[in-house]
């Protein structure tokens, strides 16, 4: 996040006479500290930037922090620095609509996201941080025969991969989400839906903070407000990464991982690596909070909208990316007009609800709507980018896989399909039909 950041870092920049290491969170600890009001520990520490690390990760979002955490936790690699030009979790990781699911279209995609949902299911206990994962079910609505056919296709692919998905009719949709208009006289009648019970929503900030805190406890250094302005590559064929230059000084490192989402090409350019990525803003909005009436996550591809209700009662709306590339995170009136009209098609009863706020995050879109992970033509420069509109839900599995790649030097089978060289060999992983809405 650049100068457009509107939210303050909750902790991490404070100094003073506080515990040097994060304490374990528990109900007992909460009561004890609450009663005495003493020594609320920092969640993570600040450090002087050292001149050498084994691994430098650019971007302190969920992907960068998860990679750092799994490097330390699974492989014992702790001499790791996570650099961010702003505050951690301030980009897409704190701006997405927090929906998790695994009901993709290709077997590669389904396997990958299923592993991510499994990791999310146990994340709260793994990280000792309440991430508030609520598996409330996920409905993808079908408004015409062809989308119903795609739902059937996705359901069968999902079942073959052991993922719980099924096609349901309008009656069942009505039972799961009573406020949806399933009558047949609408412009986009609901003919059925792909129902994915393990899908749900999570508190995205808690995921970022949880990973940051757990990684810090294992010895990883998190450096906020540290922008990478250059990447040093030793000449050769292939070239080899030797370090990065930052606004706080130079750092030498044999491995540099690019986890910068919307800014992916600006960082890759520094290493001389060309990526097939364009940056588009994706907007979202929330309404004022009301009593819980919508349990499931509801997605409509034809209407370009997805809706969920948070634990606070706010309705969260998202839509498709803005129609032209941009690094601007300004909201637009056309977005809110469009999303409101489409949500009212689905749920006419909420016409009086007021929108509280809207915002935008940056998405790094690839030609096939699948990510780009792994090795690049420059030795030691790795990428975990191209996450488009679906990066948050893949955070844990990406971190796990990238950490394995760094520690073992071998690309894990799970992410082999997502290599950068697929654009040379033509082995694209087409997820356009299931990656998001309205593309």
């Amino acid at each position: 996040m650049g100068s457009n950041g509107q939210r303050q870092a909750v902790n991490g920049q404070r100094t003073g006479a506080r515990s040097r290491l994060p304490a374990k969170y528990s109900a007992l600890a909460l009561v004890k500290r609450g009663a005495t009001h003493s020594d609320w520990p920092l969640s993570w520490r600040t450090h002087e930037l050292r001149s050498r690390y084994d691994v430098v990760i650019v971007g302190a979002g969920v992907h960068g922090l998860a990679t750092a955490y799994y490097l330390a936790a699974n492989h014992g690699v702790t001499n790791v620095a996570v650099l961010d030009k702003s505050y951690l979790g301030g980009g897409g990781s704190g701006r997405n609509t927090a929906i998790l699911r695994a009901n993709y279209l290709t077997p590669e995609g389904v396997r990958f996201y299923d592993r991510s949902v499994k990791l999310y299911e146990n994340l709260a206990s793994t990280l000792n941080f309440n991430v508030m994962f609520s598996q409330r079910g996920h409905l993808t609505l079908a408004h015409n025969d062809s989308s119903l056919r795609t739902m059937r296709w996705r359901a069968e692919v999902n079942k073959l991969q052991g993922v719980d998905s099924e096609v349901i009719g309008p009656d069942e949709v009505k039972r799961l989400a009573p406020y949806l208009d399933v009558s047949t006289h609408t412009r986009y009648p609901i003919l059925g839906a792909l129902y994915h019970p393990p899908g749900g929503i999570i508190r995205h900030d808690a995921v970022n903070w949880g990973y940051a805190r757990a990684a810090d406890a294992l010895g990883v250094e998190i450096h906020q407000n540290t922008q990478v302005v250059g990447i040093d590559v030793a000449a050769g064929d292939p070239g080899k990464v030797t370090g990065v230059r930052t606004t706080r000084g130079a750092v030498s490192a044999p491995v540099v991982i690019n986890c910068t989402a919307g800014w992916a090409t600006t960082i890759a350019d520094l290493a001389g690596v060309a990526l097939p990525i364009t940056t588009h803003p994706l907007q979202a909005a929330v309404t004022e909070p009301v009593k819980v009436f919508l349990r499931t996550v509801v997605v409509s591809g034809s209407l370009h909208v997805y809706v969920s209700q948070t634990d606070r009662g706010e309705l969260v709306f998202g839509a498709s990316v803005d129609p032209y590339p941009s690094y601007s995170t300004r909201g637009s009136l056309e977005f809110i007009e469009e999303v409101a009209s489409h949500v009212l098609e689905l749920m006419p009863a909420i016409a009086k609800l007021r929108v509280l706020r809207q915002w935008a995050g940056l998405c790094d879109m690839t030609p096939d709507y699948s990510p780009i992970m792994g090795l690049t033509p420059v030795d030691g420069f790795l990428v975990d980018v191209g996450w488009g509109t679906y990066g948050f839900k893949a955070g844990p599995v990406s971190g796990e896989a990238m950490a394995e790649l760094v520690a073992t030097g071998k690309t894990p089978e799970l992410i082999e399909p997502f290599t950068l060289s697929r654009f040379d060999t033509g082995d694209l992983v087409g997820e356009k039909g299931a990656a998001a809405v309205g593309h």
């Binding site: 940056t279 032209y324 590339p325 941009s326 300004r330 637009s332 030609p367 040379d424």
Partner: protein, 85 residues
């Protein structure tokens, strides 16, 4: 919503237009290598700042033209040589 200066119709809302993409020369099919074709097909400069790009006035004069836009601020300015190359 940004305002796009159509060289034929004047300033109009961006909703009337289709963003075509960064202006790039098309390689000569007779002489190009497969690698050059793939680059032309997939790679974009994706700069953070000023870029020259093509737009199509879909709900207006239905003509293609080029302009300059800052991807940082969405500020737009007309190009002296405005026709699609």
């Amino acid at each position: 919503m940004i305002s796009i200066p159509c060289p034929y119709c004047g300033p109009r809302n961006s909703g009337e237009f289709r963003h075509v993409g960064e202006s790039r020369p098309r390689p000569d099919p007779q002489t190009t290598t497969p690698q050059e074709w793939r680059s032309y097909l997939y790679l974009r400069a994706n700069p953070q700042g000023w870029t020259t790009e093509s737009w199509y006035h879909a709900a207006g004069c239905r003509r293609f033209f080029q302009l300059e836009r800052s991807t940082d601020t969405d500020e737009v300015r007309a190009l002296a040589d405005r026709n699609m190359t």
